[in-house]
């Protein structure tokens, strides 16, 4: 076929469609005859592996067995496969394979930029006005009160539970510690509990793990970030007002309509 293709220039196709749904004029058998495809010799690809290698690579071993009238040989699996299906499972072609969470696109609202003041709408710090530091890998926002002003620590927060205000603080000079990432803020499950859940035989009335204690590195990071942030707040135009602003809580007053308000 390759030789034929080389010799002839772009040739007219021997088969053609009759109608729009691609019903062909000649069937597969007829085209086989018309093309004289029976003349084309099939090229056999040479065996790359030797017989020995093939035997070693095979998944089973041929063993001789005794007894009469039972074939004399059996193929024995070297390593029994996990599943020995009786039917060949049909492979579904994944046209659009499932994207794992890691690969999800992380978006951020256009009005949320580092240095923006946010109003937290849910959680134990609801109503507080906090400063957005950056967006983490998981898509969550890293915020801080600063803790000195309103008690909100370095914390992750979801975009969905936040109002982004137009107030901005210039935090370009604020250097965030490198270790502030999702793993840093991840909830720590106590080792005992995780082992118990895995084993399934632990004392179910065992006391739950001790109360959360702030780690030394958290204190350190909080102090460092707060110091830099307070400096940035002081340097910005409305220093004293910004400080009292961040200390205050947000609430809807009578007559205010959030959908009509500019934040």
């Amino acid at each position: 076929l390759q030789q034929m293709a080389k010799s002839s220039a772009p040739h007219k196709p021997k088969n053609s469609a009759i109608n729009a749904s691609r019903l062909m004029k000649y069937s597969r058998a007829r085209i086989f005859q018309r093309k004289a495809a029976y003349k084309v010799k099939k090229v056999k690809t040479p065996a790359k592996k030797s017989a020995e290698k093939a035997a070693a690579a095979a998944a089973f071993v041929v063993k001789k067995i005794g007894g009469d009238k039972n074939g004399g040989e059996r193929k024995v699996y070297k390593k029994t496969p996990k599943s020995l299906p009786t039917q060949v499972a049909s492979r579904k072609v994944q046209l659009r394979p499932k994207k794992t969470f890691k690969k999800h696109v992380r978006r951020i609202r256009s009005n949320l930029a580092p240095g923006a003041v946010l109003i937290l709408l849910a959680g134990r710090h609801k109503g507080k006005r906090v400063v957005l530091l950056k967006q983490l890998e998981s898509g969550l926002l890293l915020v801080t009160g600063p803790r000195k002003l309103n008690g909100c620590p370095l914390r992750r927060v979801s975009q969905r539970y936040v109002i982004g205000t137009k107030t901005r603080i210039d935090i370009s000079k604020v250097a965030l510690p490198e270790r502030l990432n999702d793993a840093y803020f991840r909830r720590q499950r106590s080792a005992k509990k995780s082992a118990a859940s895995a084993g399934g035989s632990a004392d179910i009335f065992a006391k739950s793990d001790a109360a959360y204690a702030v780690s030394a590195e958290r204190r350190e990071d909080q102090a460092a970030v707060d110091k830099a942030l307070m400096g940035a707040i002081k340097a910005s135009g409305d220093g004293p007002m910004l400080r009292s602003y961040l200390r205050s809580l947000f609430s809807i007053k009578s007559g205010q309509r959030p959908h009509a308000m500019v934040f």
Binding site: I163, K166, T167, F250, F263
Partner: protein, 151 residues
């Protein structure tokens, strides 16, 4: 019923209350019929167009315009009458501006405004308190039920 002093007349300056040009003032260049007029506001960015009277609120200003004046004439008369300054000087325009500013206040602005009010009110109440101390005994105690007393 108020004073019937604002007439739908050629040259009357009108305020457009709704539509794309809402918030702008224009002059009436011609009267089409009972309900519609031809308006033009070359200095305020209002294109020459036919407008329904229902959309217009008449102002107290009037330009000496001949009827069906073209845009250039309207512009000349408008500038000569210094209508832009006269309009922005009215309490109507000032109230509109105040409303616009209040609506565009950010969360921080609202906080600053509230804080400013608080500071002012404190000054007032402190002054009031000291005045009350130096005044007659009758006035010393604030009479909370004064508004309920019959005249």
């Amino acid at each position: 019923m108020g004073k019937l002093d604002k007439f739908v007349q050629v040259g009357r300056v009108a305020f457009i209350a709704n539509g794309a040009d809402s918030g702008k003032v224009c002059a009436i260049a011609e009267i089409v019929d009972q309900n519609r007029v031809l308006i033009d506001g070359p200095c305020t960015g209002v294109r020459r167009q036919v407008c329904d009277m229902k959309r217009l609120h008449l102002t107290g200003f009037h330009l000496p315009l001949p009827h069906s004046s073209r845009t250039a004439v309207v512009r000349r008369k408008w500038l000569a009458a210094k209508l832009d300054e006269r309009w922005t000087g009215t309490s109507w325009a000032k109230k509109l501006e105040a409303r616009r500013l209040r609506a565009s206040m950010t969360d921080f602005d609202r906080f600053k405004c509230a804080r400013a009010k608080q500071i002012r009110n404190r000054i007032v109440s402190v002054a009031m308190g000291s005045l009350r101390k130096t005044s007659s005994p009758k006035l010393r105690k604030p009479n909370k039920k004064r508004h309920l007393r019959k005249a």
